[in-house]
Amino acid sequence: MQDLGISILFKGVNFQRLLMGLWVTLRLALITIGLSGVFGLVFGLLMLSKRKIPKIFCRCWLEIVRFMPQLVLLYIVYFGFARLFGWDLDGETSAVIVFTFWGTAEMGDLIRGALTSIPRHQTESAAALGLTKGRIYLHVLIPQTVRRLLPQAINLSTRIIKTTALVKMINVTEVLKVGQQIIGQFYRQPDAAFWVYFVIFLLYFLVCWPFSLLARHLESHWA
């Protein structure tokens, strides 16, 4: 009984269990980031289109994700869709739907911002050099857009990783839930909860921090 609570993490497979729990949310985050990137590109281009309807559609979509807490959206899809449409989605599917819905709009807005940030005379002076439209995009516009976009997209990705922790609230067994199970098993160890939650806190930090550093590095490198 005298040993520190942290030792329970190294008993048996407890630590592996925590990592597996973390992987549950990380996998969701990775799927979300991938889908948001693809759909976000379409979303961003739609926002820039000259037609009114797609523009308004995207604007509304963006406002919804800006104003609704992600947890509310999760509840709507996880609990509400079953009632409204009779779709009984499991927690992970609901999470991918909601976070992709959110990530697409945010990513699309970043892409729109990056594209519009390029001064008009960049296109004009490239055209004045006699470059074809394709080459203007390839050599002038896309490199500049990527430089502006990439740091922000990486930051959005860390936000997505952090936000997927919310799946705990719709009964997905992720790292916090695993942590609670471990604490439950070792209820005789009074400071077990402290160490388990502390380690989970650190794990999230260790996952997200490198991305933040990378984003900051790219930002200062390309500024």
Binding site: G80, M169, L176, P190, I200
Partner: protein, 223 residues
């Protein structure tokens, strides 16, 4: 949708909204103060303290609020540090928000042209006067959109307060959902409630930003 059910439960939502709004605002205000403090510690390069502020910002930005709250509410009491649920809510939101606010203030300060700082020095202002009259007003104007975005972000984040067993909007809705089974009505009211809280904040943000733009910040070089 059942109108009488909705009407009958308006008071529940009002009390939930009051909890969300009250603790959200406490958190926002404390986060602003903490963020400003951290930003100034770094701006003036106060030895040691600037390092601590920098480390804190990294920790808070790269971990989910949900995990922070679990650590505060369920972890710390096991080593003898005990807070009430309400205190945990405010501490957690401040811990998270302080880092975001600090970054918003920092980007504002960095956006102030070096030449402005020198112009202030050239008319013989002390460093403190220069910051108060020349640098800070301009920094605040540039930081305003990011600060408002953080306010909205933090109020949305309060939706996880339900893990602290606080009867905020989210928890009110969840309780009604599990007891009554009127999922659609419950979620509909939840969405409306969040909109009623966040739309005025957003409108205020637009108003302030427009006023600042009218004042013509960052518009001074016509070269």
């Amino acid at each position: 949708m059942d109108g009488s059910f909705i009407l009958a439960h308006v008071p529940d939502y009002l009390s939930g909204a009051w909890v969300t709004l009250r603790f959200g605002l406490y958190g926002v205000i404390c986060a602003m103060v903490l963020g400003l403090l951290c930003c100034l510690l770094r701006y003036f390069r106060i030895p040691v303290l600037q390092r601590i502020a920098g480390g804190y910002i990294e920790l808070a930005r790269n971990t989910p609020l949900l995990v922070q709250l679990f650590f505060l509410y369920a972890g710390l009491p096991r080593v003898g540090i005990r807070f009430s649920a309400e205190a945990c809510a405010v501490i957690g939101l401040t811990f998270l928000g302080g880092a975001y606010m600090a970054e918003a203030f920092r980007s504002g300060l960095e956006s102030v042209d070096r030449a402005q700082v020198e112009a202030g020095e050239c008319i013989g202002l002390t460093r403190g006067q220069n910051i108060r009259y020349v640098i800070f007003p301009q920094a605040l104007a540039t930081a305003a959109p990011a600060l408002f975005a953080n306010v909205i972000f933090l109020i949305k984040e309060t939706s996880v307060f339900s893990v602290l067993a606080m009867m905020d909007l989210m928890n009110v809705a969840d309780t009604l959902r599990t007891s009554g089974g009127r999922t659609v009505e419950v979620l509909f009211m939840l969405v409306v409630a969040y909109l009623l809280i966040l739309l005025p904040v957003s409108a205020l943000a637009t108003l302030v930003e427009r006023r600042l733009r009218y004042a013509g910040f960052g518009n001074q070089h016509s070269v």
